[in-house]
Point group: D2
Chain length 134, copies 4
């Protein structure tokens, strides 16, 4: 299983008048974690797009257990797996120290510039195979 752990710090902009982070902002942090995972496995997303691969979000979800607050340093843990040859599943945990703040998921497919679903880059599949993600 490919995984990573990223720290983010909550921006004032991400809070709302309830005094906590607005729920939709968590998905921005999930993105930050995905970008880092791709960096770590040597396939930066920016490079992927240059080579004609796009990774849109097909679905997403989150469960909020405790509110995140301004200035919190949060750890975003991420695990990625192939649901099928054409579909990636990513699971997230958001932690403040040992406290689980939220969990979430996203699903993705590799698509081409013109929106067609395509196989992931060979290097990516190879990597997932090596890590027993299949």
């Amino acid at each position: 299983m490919l995984s990573t752990s990223t720290e983010i710090r909550v921006r004032y902009e991400e809070t709302d008048q309830m005094g906590v982070v607005y729920h939709a902002k968590y998905f921005n942090w999930f993105e930050v974690a995905r970008i880092q995972l791709l960096d770590e496995i040597g396939i930066p997303y920016k490079e992927l797009e240059k080579e004609g691969y796009f990774l849109p979000v097909l679905s997403c979800s989150a469960i909020f257990k405790h509110p995140a607050q301004f200035d919190d340093r949060l750890i975003i843990k991420l695990e990625i797996s192939l649901a099928s040859l054409l579909r990636l599943k990513v699971a997230y945990k958001v932690l403040r120290k040992d406290l689980m703040i939220a969990t979430g998921t996203t699903e993705h497919a590799f698509i081409s510039k013109d929106g067609k679903v395509i196989r992931p880059p060979a290097s990516f599949i190879e990597l997932l195979k090596q890590t027993d993600t299949f």
Copy 2:
């Protein structure tokens, strides 16, 4: 079942460099639809907060079927129901004309200023009863 239908127009700010709407933005639209539903049933959210009721999002999800694009006029359809006395469920459909763009859900509880789960306002429960949402 309480329900409503709201039109939004996609802002440039809501797009990303894939040329479509960034996935997290749909949850902002779901909020717009919820606010309108509460208006329509005579319990504006602004008034709820004044009376000490808050409606945080406990969970949320979305499935993206077709990309929404800049300047699209989209219809957000919403249905609300009580999952239990203390938990609201809301289901959303996002349509561009007859094309289903996305579906989604959110769950909410009424909480007090200090974060305790409380029963919904009596007028709200009464209304849901009348509409057979129980």
Copy 3:
């Protein structure tokens, strides 16, 4: 002078934990007003991009006089003029009823797909001439 007036309603997402609208969000509303102006003069921005014209923001500013709050219905007034053949200036006023909430400005140039500054579409110049904006 080309001008228009647009109503927006403040979204919860646009507030921060100070209980008012986060300052950067006003620029999203300015965008909404610009899009409407272009609609009204028969040159929708979406069409402009299709024809190879882009209108990036070269500079922007805002002065905040009174806080905008959740659920406010605000009027965004806009006046557009040509600072030169190649540079548009837009001035904004944000009003809640008669109260001036904020003022702002943006500057724009027409650029081509590859980022070169180009002359505005002929129809656009013609229109500004007719309205004594030159």
Copy 4:
């Protein structure tokens, strides 16, 4: 002159369909830089709010010289000064390596919970005095 330098990394969420960062997002980065400056001088903004000080934005501006792009690592340089006893001025530079991407300004006042302009905390004034910011 109090100053600091912060690195941010451009999020996909911050781009728009022009393929560059949406202009309003720069103000979020300016906020990140301000928060860091306050940390560095030992007056974290979170603590300020706990003690009843709020620092709303009274005005803001930005000039965009070159587009920022997804995944850019940008340096936000910030200089803060007191325009008067009651008004802070902050100037920003956004750099990608040696290239100046944008400049900007914000103005702030310290206000109390009920919105009245108040004098900055004594420790803050002392600090600005020591650094010849007066």
